[in-house]
């Protein structure tokens, strides 16, 4: 629209030349993005070196199936954290949903009898409870405008105490007959891959696609990056934030559905500290705790790293398994240090 000077047009030409072919370096993830992946590969190599059973199908299935619960929750947590939120209540929520689900199935047993419909009803109830729990968290954050940390610190205590109360301080157990029918959901699988691993894989892939290729993911990043800008850009900030909590609640419900057949019971200590493991996995994976940037595949790697450390310590006599927490803690801090060096570069 206006004449450019010679030097200006040279500059513009340069820009155009550059834009024509984005540099390869810019397309590859940086070293800090690959850091978690390298750490994972190192851990696998270390595990294989220390114990020959490490790479056996049995052990791999065991590690992955145990990762699946935290993993599904961590994928949901990635969206909450990316949009600038936090949810401390997920561990208690899982315990609460497990309790409600088992009680409901036991209560429905006389009328429905042992069968697939009863299991499906239990699953529906778990998802419904997760949805409502997430909705509650989300509404308190968006409508009542209370800090997510405070809201979920509160609901964390509420869910935990509710499940303890429902269990009357003990354990809520699923009816033995129903448990036999439900067991394969954890212990069996398709093509030799356990169901929890399959479900986790689907959740992870869907999460990665949602984060990178849908409006929902883009809006989460925008809101976490600067919620004012998002608001001024016609983004429905409150609804997206609410959706992240509801999504997380649903995924906690899904994780519970996969978890209940494993033990067939729930108690006041079910899902203890899951919230911290999930948050740690998200952070190790390279998602910024302050929001604005989310990486679902990183979260998956974070979850695997945390369970591998656990597994290696148990398999190898190198270090006492009691030091598990120490090593995980060091990894979390290292991950954040790596993130910082990225942002200052």
């Amino acid at each position: 629209m206006s004449d450019s000077t010679r030097s200006d047009s040279t500059r513009a030409d340069l820009a155009r030349a550059d834009t024509a072919r984005p540099s390869l370096a810019a397309r590859l993830p940086g070293l800090s993005a690959l850091g978690p992946l390298l750490a994972l590969i190192l851990l696998v190599a270390l595990g294989a070196y220390l114990n020959e059973n490490f790479l056996s199908a049995g052990n791999v299935t065991n590690v992955l199936a145990r990762s699946a619960f935290i993993g599904m929750i961590a994928v949901g947590m990635t969206f909450v954290i990316t949009s600038g939120g936090l949810d401390l209540s997920v561990g208690s929520m899982a315990a609460f949903i497990a309790g409600v689900m088992i009680l409901a199935m036991n209560a429905l047993l006389p009328s429905m009898g042992v069968g697939v419909p009863l299991i499906l009803a239990g699953m529906g109830i778990a998802l419904g409870a997760g949805l409502l729990a997430g909705l509650g968290n989300g509404l308190l954050v968006t409508k009542a405008r209370i800090e997510p940390f405070i809201v979920t610190l509160g609901t964390m205590g509420i869910f935990r105490s509710l499940v303890t109360w429902l269990a009357d301080g003990g354990t809520i157990s699923l009816d033995f007959g129903v448990r036999q029918l439900y067991r394969p959901v954890y212990y069996s699988g398709l093509f030799g891959i356990a169901w929890p691993i399959l479900v986790f894989a689907v959740v992870a892939i869907a999460g990665q696609v949602a984060m990178r290729h849908t409006r929902f993911g883009r809006y989460c990043e925008a809101i976490g990056s600067n919620d004012k800008v998002a608001l001024y850009s016609a983004v429905n900030v409150e609804r997206i934030r609410l959706m992240t909590y509801v999504l997380l609640g649903l995924l906690v419900g899904l994780a519970t559905i996969m978890y209940v057949p494993r033990l067939g019971s729930a108690s006041g200590s079910t899902g203890m500290l899951w919230e911290l493991e999930a948050i740690a996995a998200v952070i190790i994976g390279g998602t910024a705790l302050k929001g604005g940037y989310g990486r679902v595949w990183g979260t998956v790697i974070g979850v695997l790293i945390l369970s591998l450390i656990d597994n290696i310590l148990i398999l190898a006599d190198l270090v006492s398994p009691y030091l598990n927490g120490t090593i995980q803690g060091v990894i979390i801090v290292l991950a954040v240090v790596l993130q910082r060096s990225k942002s200052s570069a």
Binding site: S4, L14, T19, P22, S23, H213, R218, Y232, S233, A234
Partner: protein, 509 residues
């Protein structure tokens, strides 16, 4: 190239053949630049010419790729901004360096608190009060930075620099956010500091300020010094020509508008608590200017109109009443608002160009999956339509110059194809060359039959762009001017209120 005035005294702070590269791109090409005690040295140039980089190198925030920084003739012994500050080299950044939750006093003494084990709050408060009194500022030492308007924050930054006993003071566009009266206070302080022997670097896009303050002027273009001059050697026109590298014709488009049908009608519109009972109408193809002091309710009115603030009253589009409760509803009614605060409200600074461009119209780029190819195509078109100059397409928007950020924001707003566009401070902190481009864009929007509202504190801008001007004062419309009656004098009278004398230059109101 004319020689700078000879000085017996050696420079306090000096750059010798400084080059700076970011990656493969050289930003500064061998800069020689010196600050002398008791002098104001103005550094001027278009956005992206390299002023900020020079200031960062002087202040120790960036290291040059080659060349030397000399303090008192010796290599500067500092590597960080904090070390430079300890040696009396203080930079006042455009983005303020204040802790928003601390008080004015706490900020001023931050890092050098008085007292032993326990803080001596009283002495610090008294010291702060003395500094603020010197600056003729009514700011209270106990006020929280968060609660202060931008202009007050600027004053606090200046007070902080005074408290640091600066020998060298680098000021990055300090007047950009100040009102006319505050600029006067700032100038008195600059003159006082100069008399005390402080070496000052001053930048501004307002060339009349340069003429008034500067003992020396250095003009930058594309990372090189293109002109050095002493006081009085360069006219404002000469400065602008040197900066842009070409003759500046009138930067405002010729008035031409053939207003069409009424596109927007606003009736007894109020945005509590400030804006009350505003009524006006806007035609197709018309540019309506809104003038008024900072704090007169201009931005509040605009934000109320697009649903960013709760408001009451009636909005009619093409004679049909519409309800606007959010930016989305405003967009659905064909109305868009371009914020005055592009860094806090307009752009995601740590995201790339494409993400920013499409954020408010993302639904048009595919459901359920965003079509990356269409986004890239939209960016390519925006870059050429709005002449956005980005070294790399995938760079963070925060690393673009202010002018290019503004062009991107304009492109983002126009992507929604709004019929009514409200542009708040279209050229704040933007160089002359980009300004004239943005004026041409605004003119083109009106020529296409869109209705444009321009809110501006820049008097020549309001007069140069608008077909009609509304003046706001204390949240109400003080008057409306059009045609013959639309003169600088008339606008200033309305802006200031009839009981005040409109006098002197009005370009800062």
């Amino acid at each position: 190239m004319s020689a700078a005035p000879e000085r017996a005294a050696a420079p306090v702070l000096e750059l010798v053949d400084v080059r700076k590269s970011f990656g493969p791109i050289e930003i500064l090409h061998g800069i020689d630049f010196a600050l002398h005690a008791g002098e104001v040295h103005a550094l001027i140039g278009e956005n992206g010419a390299g002023k900020s980089t020079i200031m960062k190198i002087l202040g120790g925030f960036l290291a040059p790729s080659s060349g030397a920084v000399r303090l008192d003739g010796k290599p500067a012994p500092y590597a960080t901004g904090a070390q430079a500050e300890a040696l009396g080299v203080v930079v006042i950044h455009q983005e303020f360096n204040l802790a928003p939750d601390l008080t004015v006093s706490e900020n001023i003494w931050l890092g050098r608190e008085l007292g032993g084990i326990f803080l001596d709050h009283r002495a610090m408060r008294a010291g702060t009060q003395a500094l603020l009194d010197e600056l003729d500022s009514p700011i209270r030492p106990e006020a929280r930075i968060r609660d202060l308007p931008v202009s007050d924050r600027q004053m606090v930054e200046i007070a902080k620099a005074l408290a640091r006993k600066a020998r060298v003071l680098v000021m990055d566009e300090p007047s950009a956010v100040l009102t006319h009266k505050e600029v006067e206070v700032l100038f008195r302080q600059i003159e006082r500091l100069r008399a005390q022997g402080v070496a000052l670097l001053y930048t501004s896009h307002r060339l009349e300020e340069i003429t008034r303050l500067a003992d020396r002027v250095t003009v930058l273009r594309d990372g090189a010094v293109v002109r050095r001059a002493g006081r009085g050697e360069l006219t404002e026109d000469g400065m602008a020509t040197a900066m842009v590298g070409r003759k500046l014709e009138d930067i405002y488009p010729a008035k031409r508008h053939h207003a069409g049908a009424v596109a927007l009608e606003v009736k007894s519109f109020s945005v509590p608590p400030l804006v009350k009972d505003i009524s006006f109408s806007l035609r197709r193809g018309e540019v309506l200017g809104i003038s008024g002091l900072v704090g007169s309710g201009r931005t509040e009115l605009a934000e109320g109109l697009v649903g960013l603030r709760p408001a009451s009253g009636e909005i009619l589009r093409h004679g049909v009443p519409v309800k606007v409760g959010s930016v989305r509803e405003a967009a659905a009614c064909g109305m868009a608002y371009l914020t005055e605060d592009r860094k806090e409200h307009g752009l995601l600074l740590d995201k790339n160009l494409a993400v920013n461009l499409t954020l408010s119209t993302l639904a048009r780029f595919g459901t359920p999956f965003i079509d990356a190819g269409r986004e890239e195509a939209a960016l390519t078109r925006a870059i050429s339509d709005f002449d956005i100059r980005a070294p790399r397409r995938d760079m963070k928007v925060g690393n673009l110059s202010g002018g290019n950020q503004q062009k991107l924001l304009l492109a983002k707003t126009m992507l929604g194809d709004p019929e009514v566009v409200i542009i708040d401070e279209p050229t704040r902190g933007i160089d002359v060359g980009t300004k004239s481009q943005i004026y041409a864009f605004i003119d083109a929007l009106a020529a296409e039959g869109r209705s444009v509202i321009v809110i501006s504190s820049d008097m020549p801008e309001i007069l140069g762009l608008s077909d009609r001007v509304l003046v706001m004062r204390h949240g109400r419309i003080a008057g409306e001017l059009e045609g013959e009656r639309l003169t600088e004098n008339a606008v200033v009278r309305l802006v200031m209120g009839t009981n005040e004398q409109a006098s002197g230059s009005a370009s800062h109101v």
